[in-house]
């Protein structure tokens, strides 16, 4: 089967509260989704009490961004990051396949009996492991994250460990918001960073200040888009070739 997805582009926003600076994060997520970038969110719960409001925003950002959202305690962040990133990849491919099926035969997968469906699903499963993934983890580093930053750092290292065992290529970057010196966000670990010492770059995370979620999403989207454009220019032909094979 042919497929026009050569790369799954996803941003995972990890936050423990709602945006309190800058624009509307839901609108930012919508803009990202229109550029074929999926935004998923993870809301970190406090073990004791929780306000209702931050939840809504976490769900709304993911809905607008075409991704999943999940609430978790900081202890379970590793597992949540892992399952969310895998789920987003296979779902993105499933959606693309569904779209093509609709164009070809007017039906989507669920309108076929389970036995005929299984061939396509097996293919999606296989392809989910092979497809190149471009993933940005956007981590809330506002003041309220201070006590959780150590666990968050470990979870991100953990995510890199599990994603690198996929068959397909992986491009991963880690961004924090707010950024250093009063910026909205800054890159902790960039796509092209070849240093083995990710841990050290992650130690730049210094929680403080407010939560400019919208601006951070916009920044990440632009950063991802420019990276992909640059990469396409460099090795556009190779990617095209891979896609046809």
């Amino acid at each position: 089967m042919e497929n026009n997805i050569t790369m799954v582009k996803q941003i995972i926003v990890v936050t423990d509260g709602e945006s309190n600076l800058g624009g509307d994060p839901v609108a930012a997520a919508k803009r990202a989704h229109s550029k074929d970038i999926t935004i998923s969110t993870i809301g970190i719960l406090n073990s004791n009490c929780q306000k209702e409001k931050p939840f809504e925003e976490v769900a709304n950002i993911a809905k607008a961004g075409g991704g999943y959202y999940e609430y978790t305690y900081i202890e379970d962040l590793s597992q949540t990051l892992h399952s969310l990133s895998y789920k987003t990849v296979s779902n993105t491919i499933q959606e693309a396949v569904n779209k093509q099926l609709k164009e070809l035969i007017g039906n989507d997968i669920n309108q076929m009996p389970p036995e005929s469906r299984s061939k396509i699903l097996n293919y999606i499963d296989e392809y989910s492991d092979d497809v190149a993934v471009c993933c940005c983890v956007l981590l809330d580093c506002s003041g309220s994250m201070t006590n959780k930053i150590h666990s968050a750092r470990n979870s991100i290292l953990d995510l890199m460990d599990s994603l690198k065992n996929r068959r397909g290529k992986l491009f991963l970057a880690i961004l924090a918001y707010p950024g250093v010196r009063g910026t909205d966000s800054s890159i902790l670990f960039d796509f092209e960073d070849n240093t083995v010492d990710i841990e050290r770059s992650l130690y730049q995370m210094k929680p403080n200040g407010g939560t400019p979620t919208a601006a951070a999403i916009d920044f990440t989207v632009d950063y991802m888009a420019s990276f992909i454009a640059k990469m396409r220019n460099n090795m556009g032909e190779t990617l095209e070739l891979e896609a046809t094979v």
Binding site: E75, D76, S78, E115, R117, S118, L121, S162, L163, N165
Partner: protein, 323 residues
């Protein structure tokens, strides 16, 4: 083989009714499969995990009971169906009978019809009563044996844990009820539970290799020995090793667990042979300890009766003297 060892221990356990909170299906609903038109009556919720919920249902076709696994995730339901069919000939793995969809409240759900296994899972069993070391080793031996077969087929179980192992009351066997984590060898682990995941314990990569499963099995054994919950967020592998050292188990078993947790490339065959050896050692030790206890009781009874006898004599002599 060792399968019959632990049966008397769990045969009397009652199957408890789960609380009905956030049940998707109630006893009032009748489910009709969208494609095969078969009807099912939900009886109760058996459990939930990840994206799926499992119900006990009665089929209105043959009036038999089945477990129904319901999920919105068509990919994972399809994957599990294929694997359950592929492993159909392995008794250890639960049987699958059907795959279909149903619509509830305008939502399309996918389901698998699976063999219902009356009994308890190992985790719940452990919560109710401690498991003696020889029984724990017997269970682990069986799991390793089955694991070897599955690896031979080119697959890794991935998400192996106590809650996925059922003590089957009908067949007096242990059974595996969830294949959600199964991946081909050399793939990436897609589902895991931190307590049994060597990645979370920083003891190796989260990669689908035979040794990944062996680590999970050793963690299951450790859990059976320690009895309490273990959590890589709170403990590290060294504190687990310390807990093992403080347990009343044979030196050989301690040695095996401790060296294995420091080993990157666990070998299933080697561990299996070692567990077999230790099983005999522990069985002997348990027997000797029981005998020691028995002897203690006998000694105590002897002591008590001789004291009684002596005091009677003493009293008689005093009485005689007084006269």
């Amino acid at each position: 083989m060792a399968g019959i060892l632990f049966v008397p221990a769990f045969v009397n356990l009652k199957n408890e009714v789960m609380p009905v909170e956030n049940c998707l299906l109630t006893q009032q609903t009748t489910i009709t499969g969208k494609w095969k038109n078969k009807k099912y009556k939900p009886l109760k919720k058996l459990g939930s995990g990840g994206t799926a919920k499992v119900y006990l249902v009665r089929s209105m076709e043959d009036n038999k009971q089945y477990a129904m696994k319901v999920s919105q995730d068509t990919l994972s339901i399809n994957r599990e169906y294929q694997l359950l069919k592929k492993f159909h000939f392995i008794d250890f793995v639960v049987n699958v009978f059907d795959i279909d969809d149903f619509v509830i409240e305008n939502n399309l759900k996918h389901f698998l019809l699976i063999e219902y296994i009356p009994g308890v899972n190992l985790k719940d069993y452990l919560l109710k009563s401690p498991i003696t070391i020889d029984i724990a080793l017997g269970i682990i031996m069986i799991i390793l044996e089955e694991l070897e077969n599955i690896h031979g087929l080119g697959y890794v179980l991935g998400d192996l844990k106590l809650e996925n192992i059922m003590l089957d009351n009908n067949h007096k066997k242990i059974r595996l009820i969830d294949l959600g984590g199964v991946v081909e060898i050399n793939g990436a682990i897609k589902e895991y539970t931190p307590a049994y995941d060597r990645g979370a314990w920083r003891c190796g990569e989260r990669k689908a290799e035979a040794s990944y499963d062996v680590f999970s099995v050793l963690m299951m054994l450790t859990r059976l020995i320690i009895g309490a919950k273990i959590d890589p967020n709170k403990d590290n592998i060294n504190s687990i090793i310390l807990k093992i050292k403080n347990k009343d188990i044979s030196h050989e078993l301690k040695e095996l667990l401790i060296t294995s947790y420091r080993e990157k490339n666990l070998n299933l065959k080697y561990i299996k042979e070692k567990i077999k050896e230790i099983y005999n050692i522990e069985k002997n030790r348990v027997r000797i300890e029981k005998e020691k206890k028995k002897n203690k009781v006998i000694n105590l009874a002897f002591l008590a009766s001789s004291v009684f006898l002596l005091s009677t004599f003493f009293l008689i002599t005093i009485l005689m003297l007084v006269k």
